[in-house]
Symmetry: C2
Amino acid sequence: MAETGPKSRMRGPARKALITEAALEIFASKGYHATSLGEIATAAGVARTVMYDHFPSKRVLLLAVMQEQNTALVEYVGARITGAGTPRERMRSTIDAYFGFAQSKPAARRLLFDRTDEDDPAIRTVRQGIREARTQAVTALLGNDIRTTVGLNPHEPIAEAMVELLITGLDGVAQWWERHPDMPRSMLVEGPMRLLWTGLGHSE
Amino acid sequence: MAETGPKSRMRGPARKALITEAALEIFASKGYHATSLGEIATAAGVARTVMYDHFPSKRVLLLAVMQEQNTALVEYVGARITGAGTPRERMRSTIDAYFGFAQSKPAARRLLFDRTDEDDPAIRTVRQGIREARTQAVTALLGNDIRTTVGLNPHEPIAEAMVELLITGLDGVAQWWERHPDMPRSMLVEGPMRLLWTGLGHSE
DNA sequence: TCATTTACCGACGCTCATGTCGGTTAGGGT
DNA sequence: ACCCTAACCGACATGAGCGTCGGTAAATGA
């Protein structure tokens, strides 16, 4: 927990920021149901009931944190994905940006994309929306290449499945990176680029 | 819930099988913390306390179901992955087998591989073991191709990351398939095969 | 038929977490 | 210097879920 000093009374927004920060870490590490508001409150240096001065319920708190981190993600990746350059350059840049996000905000990545606690309808809906936005963005990025190389209409369902393969695969690399943080980011960008652009079949 | 009739007393193992079956479905659909033993008991057609005649605790029940379904997975996929044929043929066969498992036992796939409820140390450990076994098996399957085409020593860490990319990517396709069940399995096998063997870069 | 095993259940105790309410006091505005 | 906004907290009510215990009656077998 981040002790801000022995005793001091903060202004609303500052305390709220501390709370969302703590909530992000704990929700991401333990999941929604396994974390209690008391835990988050303690980590934020405050009594449990103060939570209700800022958020009406545990669920709303989680949803607020998710929205907040999603806009952070969009700031990280959004510009790269629609930028200039060849598709290959844009793809490398996008992958790099996503790994940058995963590195500097690992808890946010987990909270947004790990499939956890989706029994709650509201949580499920929000996550689904975020995932669909990601899929759509990548489809727009790669649509042409999917057509010319794999020979698929990017609007056909099977093309969507291929985009899903890329996205979840790259996210899997990001998860692997959490367990092997010594690997330099550049290598994690170049590896998938070679694999995906070259393919496995060049030996035949 | 599967009503077995108005009233009849089953022998131990039969009732136990009903319980694990119900537990698989509900644990997979709602996650560990969000499901109660009472729910599973009702679905199994029995009072809640009967659960304790078969399993000492909720956690042990989940772990038992996971172990059970993991051996089912090994039966599905194990033979294919070490079978005969070119690496490409074995890879196609393995992908097909995994999709077959995902199709016929979607709840089992979710329970074994979705990253959920890993706050519990025991659950985390078991899942990690299952995932590592999967990674190791695929590394053995593809090690040579990774060397000859991507130019990586299959024992180097970065090669492990690439295997992780493949595995999580394919699992992502399986997840996508749950939401689009009309897609024929053969197409879901051929799509990734073309994508991964051909690569995206043949247009340049 | 009768005894024994065992599948099954209701009621209880306990813990833990959410959300409410009223009160207290620090600190900024005037 | 004083007031009053609002940041903060303790105590309470409520409910859900886990695990225990002792009892009941169905099935089995002799």
